[in-house]
Symmetry: C2
């Protein structure tokens, strides 16, 4: 019998001391990133962009990687994060299922993003780097990196998509409060930005442009003391997030749970999903019977509709080619409120796990997700981020299914962040102004033309599942 308690907190000394690397356990080895010539990228070709210690993590096939003590010292500010039993939500649904959620909204930046931002900033500092450049859309990643750089005494330069910079000033103010230098992108500070401003001075900007500017700002620093940082998608980013799932497993034990049936996370680039899910994927590889569900918006259905293919990580085609589920690098998703889920591709590790049949992706429309978020806020109390609402919708659906089947299932999802900086979407939903989007097959096929002539990824499946 599980204990009838509301939450499990762990003390500092119970924090996991190693990250889990799924690449070590995937039945099929990961396919390498490719250069524009179609040949594999070697680690040293990435050296102008990332510090070598993070590149080593990116290509590592070691199962467990030690977390340096100084990183833990910073993570202790909000980790181990609490694991909750959603008793009030269960009661509202009338389900025999037990629903658990991991609250990543307790970090100073309000989401799971600082788990990797702190680690990346620390490795950069170890490597002698003084300044980190990055891009941000609505600002969740930029604020997490600004926070991390402040605590580690690094300079932080953030190129923020202009329309968010102008219309959503609050995360910009968070970044500035933490001492970061945040400018609207396109900016006059890079060739990439100046060229675009010359052609379209009134452009609202895009994540693709901002990535180009951030990379240029990093590699063009002649002191050699600048590097670029990415908040999702890459292997080392997902690695740093696995502390979420490793903590959750210890906490489920304290709750008295012997077995988990369903694991859920929303998936944009894939890092918060992977953070909770990968330690459970390891169990599944070892034979456990678990449904593991990445949830995405119907308007950006990368895993549920997009093919597995080599594609660029950015709109401007400046990154290496990555083997992943993708809607085509030129795909511009509709302006849904879950800005963190508007990405054309998906982390290669998550994509490969889908190819292997280890994951069961699902997509939802945003109105349904807001309905779920509202039920959550009015029962459990915490107001979720629009991204997080996708995981909540799925958890509720699974709990309803358990009710219909009369099964006492154990469901866990990643509550990836709070929605206090994103209340405008709630306002639109409550006043009935929210538009639903679903990507049509025709529009997807159009968007996929951009990758027709790129090298092909092999959808290798070991067939063990």
């Amino acid at each position: 019998m599980p204990k009838n308690i509301t939450k499990v907190v762990l003390s500092d000394d119970e924090i996991p001391r190693q990250w889990y690397n799924l690449a070590a356990d995937l039945p099929t080895p990961m396919q390498p990133p490719l250069g524009p010539d179609g040949n594999p990228i070697s680690p040293d070709m990435l050296a102008p962009v990332f510090p070598m210690n993070l590149i080593e993590q990116e290509v590592s096939s070691q199962r467990w990687i030690d977390i340096p003590e100084e990183i833990l010292e910073i993570l202790y500010r909000w980790r181990p994060s609490p694991l909750y039993r959603a008793k009030a939500l269960e009661k509202a649904i009338g389900t025999p299922a037990r629903i658990y959620y991991k609250n990543e909204g307790v970090s100073p930046a309000g989401s799971h993003k600082p788990n990797t931002a702190v680690a990346q900033a620390w490795y950069n500092k170890q490597f002698g780097i003084k300044r980190i450049c990055t891009e941000t859309g609505a600002g969740q990643w930029g604020s997490a990196l600004a926070f991390s750089c402040a605590l580690l005494g690094l300079e932080c330069k953030v190129f923020m998509v202009r329309i968010s910079f102008d219309q959503k000033p609050f995360r910009k103010l968070m970044m500035q409060t933490w001492g970061a230098n945040c400018v609207a992108s396109p900016s006059t500070e890079t060739n990439a930005g100046r060229n675009i401003l010359k052609e379209s001075p009134d452009t609202p900007g895009s994540l693709g442009i901002a990535i180009s500017e951030a990379i240029e700002a990093a590699v063009s620093d002649t002191s050699g003391k600048s590097r670029y940082s990415l908040g999702s998608v890459l292997n080392h980013v997902l690695l740093h997030q696995t502390i979420i799932g490793l903590e959750a497993k210890k906490q489920l034990e304290v709750f008295g749970e012997k077995k988990v049936d369903v694991v859920i996370g929303c998936a944009g680039g894939g890092s918060n999903f992977a953070g909770l899910a990968f330690p459970f994927v390891a169990d599944k590889i070892n034979g456990a019977n678990i449904d593991i569900i990445p949830v995405e918006p119907a308007s950006c259905p990368t895993l549920t509709k997009g093919p597995f293919a080599y594609d660029f990580g950015d709109v401007a085609s400046t990154t290496p080619l990555l083997p992943m589920h993708t809607l085509g690098h030129a795909f511009i998703p509709e302006p849904i409120h879950a800005g963190g889920l508007r990405y054309h591709g998906m982390a290669p590790l998550v994509s490969q796990a889908v190819v292997e049949g280890l994951l069961s992706p699902r997509s939802y429309r945003q109105n349904d997700c807001y309905e779920a978020a509202l039920l959550f806020a009015r029962t459990e109390g915490f107001i979720p981020a629009p991204e997080t609402s996708h995981a909540i919708k799925c958890a509720i659906d699974e709990a309803v299914k358990a009710k219909e089947e009369g099964k006492e299932k154990v469901i866990i999802f990643n509550w990836s962040g709070h929605g206090l900086m994103d209340l405008v979407g709630y306002d639109k939903y409550m006043s009935g102004q929210l538009v639903d989007h679903e990507l049509s097959d025709a529009d997807m096929q159009k968007s996929l033309k951009a990758i027709a002539n790129l090298p092909k990824a092999k959808a290798v499946k070991s067939g063990r599942w």
Copy 2:
């Protein structure tokens, strides 16, 4: 030797199960609230406004009052709240002092306010009440009550000062997300509101007007199922907050601290200060040598400049007369960003403790407080509310003093809430646009004329300190 750890979390079963009532231990008995005729108010005269079970708490002299299990069930969502050692801040100051802070920003509403909002909503529900009416300025209290009513299935009606309603829409959206009915005050829903709108249709509103509307809305409900709720000042509100200090004492023990030297909280109506401080005031009454410091803005120096006198709790003179430090009920503080500290009076229990010599109030200017808040955000990581920054400034000053004296002092303060909904003040401070205010003696004397003809409070001091 204290342990070198970053924070102490307690599990659900370590939560305090009783509130502490300072009224039981104050050397001089509290003076009663008075009616407009100068005669003491009896408990039943308050019955149309508050439910009788809360009135009983208001007048109780029992030292310990049990916390009902169902209230704990809700508090577990964020309580026990973590106690932090501010190691990075200590290092930045270079102090031998150990600085601790209690993080009340982890509640769903982001501040300490839900500690009493949940309790008040629960007691109202027990008494058969269906609808709670309240007022709110910037929205911190209104959102805490909306959250609590949502979880307990009560209707919540919030009159929000019009200028905040229009200019600061985000806490209004929080309230609506939790299902509350939030209207701008003055509104057309009450006589008080309609009368004011007739005279000045463009009024920005005030807390005084909003209080009048909320009380009218409660007492004029002919079903008898509505009551009014207040977020600070009153004895039962402070009582519910003492869980903060009771937890902190347990946590300091886990840190290995045997003795506390300085206890600090910002003070507007007095509830977050009292919440941390009153359990330590009990120790001081029993002979412990502790500096206990309520911190207020220099522009609203109720405790540091205002006399101890009988005064109304609201601008419109509708409440009973309370014995308290006050600047006069007609006092309108300058528009500083710490909206929660802009109150003309102070909780009678805090005021009486000052009269008794148990507390050492202090005031600061807002630019100094923002400087302190920025240092905190860039070392400890969490962005504090403008109110909280007053406690931080005082803690830093005390740590600097300990450095100068070469003393290994133990300092604890209440980190009453996060500043994520209040970033505009940081923007103004960082861009050098923030104006400092300090109340002049002449302006105070002018404001105090309003209370010249009210009954006098006796500044009775037992003389034991």
